[in-house]
């Protein structure tokens, strides 16, 4: 039987389908206003299936269709180790939060940190900043990559940063330069989180924000080491949930 892992995140629901330990399908869709209905539509093609859930909506999923739930932390640990067996550090940047997870050599979570009640350093922050410059997300990263100019950006609060962007534009800075500055500031913050917890072993960068090539590039430069980015980085948690359930069967 197919084993499904569902990650009900703040911005998107991700699904990973496992068959005999192999990832056979991965899909994602916006969470919408009724996440469990969206999720039910996503799992329908795979029924009958065994289902595990993670993410903010995990308990909602358990109420409706999931037989097991685990937290995003554990799910990302399992998903990241599936891709890179020597992984001991995970940087996950999703829609609503960013987290750094440290694993021991056996892959057990030894420590983790999440951003506090603040949107800075999250996918949502990037979305707001891109929108304030009139870019979509791929354009935002691409524009940043074309700039070589340093623009000081001070605020990492989503609200204040937006007004700071407005004032930078009014002072005549090019949107691409501002885009670069925002990427650098986010990278700085994420590197701070990583260094606080201590970098160990191989590092996996997961979550939808890992699809931003410019951010990945500057993170690697600042850390001075390669980051492993799974082929569909946003699916890592869903995959971890599916792997967890499969291991219990």
């Amino acid at each position: 039987m197919t084993v499904l892992g569902l990650d009900l995140g703040s911005r998107a629901i991700k699904l990973a389908a496992l068959h005999k330990g192999r990832l056979v399908a991965a899909t994602s869709a916006e969470s919408g206003f009724e996440p469990h209905r969206q999720a039910e539509a996503m799992i329908a093609p795979y029924q009958p299936a065994r289902i595990a859930a993670t993410g903010y909506g995990r308990h909602l999923a358990q109420k409706h269709f999931a037989e097991k739930v685990i937290t995003e932390i554990k799910a990302h640990a399992l998903g990241a180790r599936h891709h890179v067996s020597a992984c001991q550090t995970i940087l996950d940047v999703g829609g609503q939060d960013s987290k750094v997870i440290s694993l021991d050599t056996r892959g057990q979570v030894s420590q983790f940190q999440m951003n506090d009640k603040c949107a800075a350093g999250t996918g949502r922050f990037l979305e707001i900043m891109a929108a304030s410059l009139g870019y979509d997300l791929p354009e935002f990263a691409a524009a940043a990559a074309t700039s070589e100019q340093s623009v000081p950006i001070n605020s990492m609060c989503a609200v204040f940063a937006e007004s700071e962007v407005v004032s930078l534009r009014n002072r005549g800075f090019a949107p691409a330069d501002i885009a670069r500055a925002i990427h650098l500031a986010i990278a700085e913050r994420l590197v701070g989180m990583l260094e606080r917890i201590g970098l160990r072993g191989e590092v996996v960068f997961s979550g939808g924000v890992a699809r931003n090539p410019f951010l990945a590039k500057i993170l690697q430069e600042k850390l001075g080491r390669p980051l492993h980015i799974p082929p569909t980085p946003e699916i890592t948690g869903a995959l971890g949930a599916a792997l967890f359930l499969e291991a219990t069967l």
Binding site: T71, E72, K74, D97, Q108, V109, D116, K117
Partner: protein, 491 residues
């Protein structure tokens, strides 16, 4: 006195003002805010409480539902904003019922503490009003460093005023900066909004200098209620002790003046014994609670430690011992609040003032039990007692000061005793992990968490630091962290 009265506000403003949320329910999957109209039982409640000097005569198992009683006439006599405040008891009744009374197999002697909550805005306040009428002033405090033995010896009533509700924070933020500690804002807002009967009943408040937010807020609070300040040093050297003793002597003089009574040696000796007894009762209770499996839940323990700050000490001590006797029997009978395999979590850090039950509720709803609070509303309040061998007033005050100097608040530097104390309590409580709780903007505890984490790593103790305030918006995040921490502990 200094506030715009409700009458001068528009209807819309009135409606907004009327929606005080004393507590935002923090049930992980339910984000409902209860808004109920007042019950109309105030007069009955008042006549019942007026006669009732002691509050522990409610027998368990009565069919009438739990209710936090209202007493609008009493509140009006205290110059409260009654229109706003009357929504609070029903809201708190709902919260208390779902968080506390929904528990299975609670110790029966919790009935007294439930009664203390039921009477929190009525019977207990009436007792304080009666005490004042008998010439016993009520002294409000905000910190475990203010020596309540001296208030007791002067025949005064000591009450803790720390705020634990988000409902009064908008009142405070009309005056105070937003980015300061929620406990300071909550307390200040209670006074500014006239929405806390305890604040209204006190004759004076005695603040201290344990943090910047507090010490500067006291300057502003003095506009609303006479506010004295006791200097607490930030180091514990001999010269600091000298200053501290002098501050204690000044405190004694101020309290004697307020209470119009000169404290005799025998008075102080007696009060030291009474409050030592109270602290020993709490030590006994916490010791029993450390048993695996736990005979009592963490949230019930937190509640008792919160009530310690507004109950009469002798009565409270007696009731704590009665509960201890029951827990003793429960342990012998193998009667626990949760199975032995339930993960055991210890809390360290900043205090959780009434009605801040947010973190305990999240932890215990995630399938763990809280087994210790290394906190001001916790062991810091009762871990030390005063040496009773002081032969005269000078010696007694010195012994008293020495006891208060053992309190290991993070406002001191260095403060390594606290690190050792946390590890000791972790071992004693049979906990499997520590969640360090810092109120937002409490810099000293927040920074000290770095040292605590290092010490825990060295000892192999699972440790997680969280920072939060009273708002419900981070409940989802906190729940994820707590569950992930439990996964981590359980491997």
């Amino acid at each position: 006195m200094h506030m715009v009265s409700c009458a001068s506000l528009s209807t819309k403003q009135m409606q907004i003002k009327n929606e005080i949320h004393i507590i935002n329910l923090t049930f992980p999957q339910r984000h409902e805010t209860f808004r109920h109209s007042t019950t109309g039982n105030e007069t009955i409640a008042r006549s019942a409480t007026q006669k009732q000097k002691t509050t522990h005569n409610r027998s368990k198992g009565m069919s009438e539902p739990f209710e936090i009683k209202a007493d609008t006439a009493l509140w009006a006599s205290l110059d409260m904003d009654v229109e706003r405040f009357k929504n609070v008891p029903p809201t708190l009744t709902q919260a208390f019922t779902s968080i506390f009374l929904s528990q299975q197999n609670r110790p029966e002697k919790m009935a007294y503490f439930d009664e203390m909550i039921s009477n929190i805005f009525s019977g207990r306040i009436q007792e304080m009003v009666d005490a004042k009428a008998e010439g016993r002033p009520v002294i409000g405090t905000f910190c475990v460093y203010v020596p309540e033995e001296i208030v007791h010896a002067a025949n005064g009533v000591c009450v803790g005023l720390c705020g634990g509700s988000p409902g009064s924070i908008p009142d405070a933020e009309k005056i105070l900066p937003r980015n300061i500690c929620p406990m300071v804002k909550s307390a200040f807002g209670f006074k500014v909004g006239k929405i806390c009967p305890f604040f209204q009943v006190v004759d004076i408040v005695y603040g201290e200098t344990t943090c910047d937010a507090k010490k500067k807020t006291w300057e502003l609070l003095n506009d609303y209620v006479p506010t004295h300040v006791m200097e607490i040093p930030q180091m514990k050297r001999e010269r600091d002790k000298q200053l501290w003793v002098e501050e204690v002597i000044d405190f004694k003089s101020a309290i004697e003046k307020q209470c119009d009574k000169v404290i005799s040696n025998a008075d102080l000796q007696n009060s030291i014994t009474v409050l030592n007894g109270k602290r020993q009762a709490l030590q006994r209770l916490n010791g029993l609670r450390h048993h695996t499996p736990s005979p009592i839940s963490g949230r019930d323990m937190l509640l008792i430690q919160q009530i310690a700050f507004y109950d009469e000490p002798e009565r409270f001590t007696e009731q704590v011992h009665l509960l201890c006797d029951e827990l003793d029997a429960r342990i012998k009978a193998g009667n626990a609040i949760a199975p032995a395999e339930t993960p055991r979590i210890m809390i360290s850090g900043t205090p959780m003032a009434l009605p801040n039950w947010k973190l305990h509720n999240i932890i215990e709803n995630s399938g763990a039990v809280v087994v210790n609070e290394e906190s001001c509303i916790g062991t810091r309040y009762y871990k030390d007692t005063i040496d009773t061998d002081g032969a005269n007033m000078t010696a007694m005050l010195e012994r008293l000061t020495e006891r208060y100097m053992k309190i290991d608040c993070s406002c001191f530097t260095p403060n390594d005793d606290r690190i050792d104390q946390v590890i000791r309590e972790y071992r004693a409580s049979g906990a499997q992990g520590i969640i360090d709780y810092t109120l937002q903007f409490c810099h000293s505890y927040n920074i000290e968490a770095v040292k605590l984490r290092r010490a825990c790593e060295k000892e192999g103790i699972p440790f997680m630091a969280i920072e939060s305030d009273y708002s419900p918006e981070d409940v989802g995040q906190l729940q994820t962290r707590v569950e992930a921490f439990l996964e981590q502990i359980q491997g």
